[in-house]
Symmetry: C2
Subunit: 258 residues, 2 copies
């Protein structure tokens, strides 16, 4: 089955999702973005029309995907005048029920991945979490999600929020620690490239070993000697000292608890 | 050229290093560990003799690798009675000069990687950092290190400490954040497997984009709304709330600074 869809949003998630929907045989009929250049760019990639005016969003598509930032979702819907259409948002931390002001036919399709402008991702490998207000919506969302991905999972709004939060730790925070390591290298005239095999292996290790089991380093045993040496070496980076202390304490606490 | 070596230590690093040394044509003549089972196991893998007595360490090997934990290094050397041999430690945070009490011929060979018992690693891809007290030692260490790895780099004790500290952030701390994500999944009856594509992509992304540039998430713009939602959702995990606040602040600070 194929569907006619409107993509509300033209950022990284909207772009990857719209292109995957098109690649799986659906028709993207229109793209909305408040930024004309973004709307036009995604429209060109998907063969869709585009608009920067919520009121100009067409009324007769089969599915409306909302992939704008959380705070923009309801204002855009209000201005659009959409009512009763099948509305599907893609946000981790927004409950499905916020859409009920506009329609009974609502749901969520949440792909758990980090999307960047210039990076291809294979949508087939991305877990897609769905939530639906009615059995009819669930049938449609499961159909669309299964076209996109090998892994389609029903998840409540609460579970989805937990996934989003877990993703903040496993992606956003991890990325920061890569950035801290990059800073430490730069301050000592060392290429960040030297750390890449370690970063690769650290990520690969947890494919087969639980991260709790994989944990090594001085904080597990709260080795004050090594930790104090590290803290002293961080003297030029007082912000990183606090970070070091807090994370070390957290590692120790987690391992004491178990 | 091939060398006769004694491996002092039989943990993960010692095991991977001894096996790589053997695989590249060197002869591991003896393994020391305070634990007989560990010494015997590594000796069997490398065709070496073994001992649990520092005083029984043979005197006439060409290179002595010290791959015991930092605090054990000097006690073992003292008990061994070794004096004047070529002593090479493998520790990130220990200055080379601590070996000078035992020999003029000293150096460091530091492979930057996380080693686990049941995981094969390809030593050729691991950056190896060397430091040598004399040009003769440097020649030997560069020869050995080049047999092991494609990437051999001279690094001072200060640079090596910075690398070790960067590795704590990029490996140990990253691993903890994977573990936190695992906890959050478990508490919500979700498989940690769902996060693996995200973890993979987050690690891959920094192969081509600087981690500073790759940073996304609410903390970059200190989006108090989203952050407060996340903190509320972490209500069952007070320790993780503090962690969330500290890391978010650190992300924001780093991005304000630049």
């Amino acid at each position: 089955m194929s569907f006619s869809v409107v993509m509300i949003g033209a950022g990284n998630l909207a772009t990857h999702l719209a292109m995957a929907l098109k690649a799986t045989g659906n028709q993207v009929v229109q793209v909305y973005s408040q930024t004309a250049a973004s709307a036009a760019a995604l429209a060109e990639k998907t063969g869709a029309g585009w608009t920067t005016s919520p009121a100009a969003i067409i009324r007769d598509a089969q599915i409306y995907f909302l992939a704008v930032k959380d705070s923009a979702m309801l204002p855009v819907l209000r201005e659009s005048g959409l009512s009763g259409q099948l509305l599907v948002h893609c946000a981790g931390s927004v409950p499905m029920t916020v859409l009920h002001g506009f329609s009974d036919q609502v749901g969520v399709l949440y792909p758990l991945q980090t999307f960047s402008k210039n990076r291809e991702v294979n949508f087939r490998t991305i877990p897609v979490f769905i939530e639906a207000a009615t059995p009819d919506v669930e049938t449609i969302l499961r159909e669309v999600a299964s076209q996109l991905s090998e892994t389609v999972v029903n998840a409540s709004s609460e579970q989805r929020q937990a996934l989003h939060l877990a993703a903040v730790f496993a992606c956003n925070f991890v990325s920061h620690f890569y950035a801290v390591a990059e800073e430490l290298c730069a301050a000592n005239h060392l290429s960040f490239d030297y750390l890449k095999p370690l970063i690769r292996e650290t990520a690969r290790k947890i494919e087969t070993i639980s991260p709790f089991e994989a944990q090594t380093g001085p904080a597990v045993r709260f080795d004050r000697n090594v930790m104090d040496t590290h803290l002293a070496a961080l003297g030029k980076f007082p912000g990183f000292q606090n970070l070091y202390e807090t994370v070390s304490q957290s590692i120790f606490d987690l391992h004491q608890k178990k």
